[in-house]
Symmetry: C2
Subunit: 385 residues, 2 copies
Amino acid sequence: MAWNARIDQVAPFRVMSLLETAQAREAAGHDVIHLEVGEPDFPTPAPVVAAGQAALAAGHTRYTPAAGLPALREAIAGHYSHFGAEVDPRRILVTPGASGALLLASQLLAGPGDRVLMADPNYPCNRHFMALAGAEVDAVPVGPASGWQLDAGLIEAHWRDTTRLAMLATPSNPTGHMLDEAHLAAVAATVAARGGHLLVDEIYQGLCYDLAPLSVAAITADAFVVNSFSKYFGMTGWRLGWLLAPEVAVEPLTRLAQNVFLAAPTPAQHAALAAFTPECRELLEARRHELSRRRDALLAALAPLGLAPSLPPQGAFYLWLDISRYSDDSQAFCRRLLEEENVAITPGVDFALAGGEHHVRIAFTTGVARLEEAVARLARFLARQ
Amino acid sequence: MAWNARIDQVAPFRVMSLLETAQAREAAGHDVIHLEVGEPDFPTPAPVVAAGQAALAAGHTRYTPAAGLPALREAIAGHYSHFGAEVDPRRILVTPGASGALLLASQLLAGPGDRVLMADPNYPCNRHFMALAGAEVDAVPVGPASGWQLDAGLIEAHWRDTTRLAMLATPSNPTGHMLDEAHLAAVAATVAARGGHLLVDEIYQGLCYDLAPLSVAAITADAFVVNSFSKYFGMTGWRLGWLLAPEVAVEPLTRLAQNVFLAAPTPAQHAALAAFTPECRELLEARRHELSRRRDALLAALAPLGLAPSLPPQGAFYLWLDISRYSDDSQAFCRRLLEEENVAITPGVDFALAGGEHHVRIAFTTGVARLEEAVARLARFLARQ
């Protein structure tokens, strides 16, 4: 059978086969340390779980409106006050995960003949959503000079007549780096001056350790903003996210939502209403501090090995590490590290078209003791190279 | 701002604005009878709700594999024994609603330059998914002669060199009509002879009143089959469905799933495991009998008005009714019926490109007494025409 050609552009996640190997080793009795998947070891906050159970008990299991429960759209809009933005709830579309938001935005904004600017490295799904929409992605190699982000200068330099959209992610996966307010404003102005659209992935918003959390929504009402309950709010498996859109885009986006997913899961929407309470916020902020401690411990443990990121990650829960002193084949490096020392990390080729073969991503999704144990094993492994 | 041209091909659901009006009338104190939305008045079965609550209590809130929980894939595969099909669990991909399955299948099978055969009338999302994939839809007008379905003869007559895919829905929304085994086998053979793909929407499977429920999976392992926990299993708001695919398609579909939705909602997947118990099946079969009674009562009440479908619906919970004796503007007809008599039904233009203006869809999603009251109001309305 022959598939549509676009399928070839959707790369497999190498980390998934690595995860399978890791799980097989675990099943065989090995003590595997998982630093590969983008899911911290925190459970969903208890108040959110309780609200989900109460929703089920109350029979909230039918379709909601396509754009989401009105009360949840209001709560999400209100949440932007933390970032100094005033947001009309009508501009919020609740989606099945950030994936649903990316699907809506890519289908609305990008199509055949359009080019999309994106940083390289980047979360590969972002690239794939654009390919599925029929657009061409210009993946712009970034590094320490621009803080591992697309900045206004890079956007200016790479913009073409057919460029329709620039997409950023801040904090970024896999680097953890952020654009500060001044840089974000410069990007927004640059894109606006060219009559393009700006799409910002803020799914790690709130998980930041140096800068205060921020949103492009405080800078412009013209940006499309993807967000999620998965990361900061600890709700990965519930599959709930949102898209903040310019007012003029809400009608066509709602029409798309009615067709491509009908509505986000109802129990999850009711549960998420409890995510914005002061009680829950306190718990989530404690988790943020814990992630910050993990980041510091991981950086401190890696330093004696001569392994340090060019810039410490400011957010998310990832370290993007240059391993060129040891290897120029990140897939082989990660496979051997797993097989010889039972430490699972992700090869850079999953995220970067350029330079992925000498980078790895380490997710600090387990406690400090396990992270230090992982680095001790890594040291042993490197000593044998 | 300018959107991608494909957005214009996604028609708005007229029923949604009608629903808004209906809800506004309700809020203003009117007694509205809702026969417009495709969601019966049954709650999710208690054993499923209990399993969902237990899953939350046990902390099952993290990502599952992209293709779904292995135990659920096994349970779904086992379910096909009711239809005389033996299905390998590896061929099942669990998806966020049937919507997720339609997204996967359309992106895999249809692209720019491809033509897709479909019956008209049809569920509009099916057409829109193909448009988003960049394919052209040939909507073949069907009527009583072919049982309101695409049959082998129609497929032969409308197949072109660039046709890649034929899509059926049985039982069909909006007509409730089914293809029996012989017709389904003839369709599968015809599509196979042309080297095309066959996609069958079986989301109303199990909700049938004359024929025994059946699946194309019992006829061929080459068909792509979309299904859902929403309708027969009463789990609309949970957003859970599945795609049964030929074995060779599982790898690219899993790759797509990893990118476009990561995984289906975890609590819903655990809850759905309870949907296959004998206890739950007994309850669901009782609901099927109740829907059958509603269908019969609605048909009996409409007959004296000279309103009868060309064929009684064999499945789903819809009646597709020709109103040309009274109107050739189904939108105006439905709007006036709502405003004058507080009965909400759906204009045919939501489903049919041809003939939609003199058809309406009535969903028998409320009890017999309310259905009879709705028909009494309709009779009063028609007497004034």
